[in-house]
């Protein structure tokens, strides 16, 4: 069977070789050609593809290639210019304004209002268990490295490169890149763990509305709140939403062209960078409230337990609930004061 095919194709080749030149010879003999004149008398470019016309119908000029990489069939894709304009003209400003803006606002707030004071007592109440604290700090550590290495993509060549020179900067950026793409995985795991651990305490409810209307204690006295107040819930949902968005677009960037084509990749990059900037600003706010902003709050994630009076002031409903549980027999690990 196979040898039969081979014979047939050999025959075909032989026939073409003999007949081809004869046919061409005939054609040449019939019409002697002159310069500037074409043999058919028609305009050979009458329906030839033309760059300007193609661009009128489509934004990308596409064709076919005979090499395995089919993406190479995109001949001209001028959208790269828009991507470039965003990445070089807008992105550094957006990121700088959002991040520095947040820092300036918080510094001004601290100067004007000072730290938020809270009552103190001798009693402690457990707030976060070991798994919760592990999840928080793993995700936080990854986030800081991701944020710094991410910012290096935008600002490194503008700020760091002139200081340390291109070679050292290249090496540092390579390291930053590896830390970005490897720490992305524990970060994404952390986001999923946070979702599992804390979603039940973060469902918005009527208390949140009252808390927000009361100005969350920022502008006046303390409002009622459960385990998490409305402000914390906003941070939680921001972390989950932005975290998933960063994970999705980040994975698309890690495995280029598996999820999207060239324009999709450009979009993924734009979204990843823009949300990244907002995310960093949001986390700066979170770090502020967790440390200097509100006295006594750091202990919650630091030691895992907080001052009971602090808890009553900030999360009164949660304290009541915990104490009711303890009274009902559940052991809280700390002696509870009699009401």
């Amino acid at each position: 069977m196979r040898s039969g095919l081979k014979l047939l194709s050999t025959l075909l080749v032989a026939v073409t070789l003999v007949a081809g030149p004869v046919a061409v010879g005939v054609a040449l003999a019939q019409e002697p050609m002159q310069a500037g004149q074409n043999p058919t008398g028609q305009d050979p470019t009458a329906d030839a593809v033309n760059e300007e016309l193609l661009f009128k119908h489509e934004s990308t000029i596409r064709g076919v290639v005979s090499i395995p990489d089919k993406r190479a069939g995109n001949l001209i894709q001028p959208q790269g210019r828009e991507y470039r304009a965003f990445h070089e003209r807008w992105l550094p400003w957006i990121a700088a304004v959002v991040i520095l803006g947040m820092i300036v606002v918080l510094a001004a707030f601290l100067l004007i209002k000072g730290r938020m004071k809270s009552p103190r007592s001798a009693e402690k109440i457990k707030r976060y268990n070991v798994l919760e604290r592990f999840t928080h700090w793993m995700t936080a550590a990854c986030f800081i490295v991701l944020a710094l290495s991410g910012l290096n993509y935008i600002f490194g060549k503008r700020l760091l490169m002139p200081l340390i020179g291109p070679d050292a900067f290249g090496t540092a950026s390579q390291l930053a890149k590896y830390s970005h793409v490897y720490l992305a995985w524990p970060f994404m795991l952390g986001i999923l763990l946070m979702l599992a651990l804390w979603v039940k305490d973060n469902i918005p409810n009527r208390v949140d509305w009252a808390w927000l209307k009361a100005g969350g204690g920022v502008l006046g006295g303390h409002a009622h709140a459960g385990r998490f107040n409305a402000g914390q819930k906003v941070i939680f949902w921001m972390v989950i939403g932005f975290g998933l968005a960063m994970g999705f677009t980040g994975i698309a960037l890690l495995f280029p062209f598996t999820l999207a084509g060239i324009h999709g990749m450009q979009l993924m990059q734009v979204v990843h960078a823009s949300i990244g900037a907002l995310f960093i600003a949001g986390i700066i706010l979170h770090i502020y409230t967790g440390t200097v902003g509100i006295e006594g709050s750091f202990a919650a994630m630091g030691k895992g337990e907080v001052d009971l009076a602090w808890a009553r002031a900030h999360h009164d409903l949660w304290v009541e609930e915990q104490q009711a549980k303890a009274a009902g027999g559940a052991h809280l690990g700390h002696p509870q004061p009699a009401e």
Binding site: N38, E51, G63, D69, A72, L75, R84, F169
Partner: protein
């Protein structure tokens, strides 16, 4: 100094892929990477044309602008080159390039795409001319030998032209006037913000 450009006369290109092969061989380009390719438009339909395309060595090159480690530089002949020692393989230059020129040793992978590779206009790289390091990273350096890119030299129909922009534009213009038609200098508007007016 010359302002080096490529011009592909699509009315002459016969899609033989000799330029693609010549380039791969001359520079021993790694597997999976094609610094030059031939794209056929309207394949099998009336008005079919093929265009040989590689890096166009753009004016104000987008790849150089978006690179987060600034590893690109432009030679005195206006050839756009980059340093593989500094490149971190982030892929941004591919997103920015209007011609899909940058290539990576590994396409669908996790973490490292490897160092970007693209057409050098047969001009080597930042290493010393004719050094082993230059050849291994970037391929041969024909410009330093006083020669033009091999793809254009090999082109059997002289469809692909390489050389000083004004000179190749003049050759193309002459052709168009003589034969009475021409589908234009593909990519020139995008790469150089100008085209060949006839």
């Amino acid at each position: 100094m010359a302002r080096m450009k490529f011009l592909c006369d699509a009315d002459r290109c016969i899609e033989c892929n000799a330029c693609v092969t010549a380039c791969k061989n001359e520079h021993e380009v790694p597997w999976g990477i094609n610094r030059r390719r031939v794209v056929t438009l309207n394949d099998g339909r009336p008005g079919e044309r093929s265009v040989s395309m590689a890096c166009m060595h753009c004016t104000d090159a987008p790849c150089a602008a978006v690179c987060p480690v600034n590893c690109f530089y432009t030679t005195a002949d206006a050839v756009v080159l980059h340093s593989k020692d500094i490149c971190i393989g982030c892929g941004y230059c591919f997103y920015a390039c209007p011609f899909g020129a940058p290539q990576y040793p590994r396409i669908g992978n996790f973490g490292s795409r490897g160092k970007m590779d693209k057409c050098t206009y047969c001009t080597g790289g930042p290493e010393p001319d004719f050094s082993v390091a230059e050849y291994e990273k970037y391929g041969s350096n024909r410009l330093a030998e006083g020669k033009l890119p091999l793809c254009a030299e090999m082109c059997s129909t002289k469809s692909l032209l390489a050389g000083d922009g004004e000179m190749i534009a003049a050759i193309y213009k002459q052709r168009v006037i003589k034969r009475g038609y021409g589908s234009g200098a593909w990519g020139w508007k995008t790469a150089y913000r100008e085209t060949v007016t006839i």
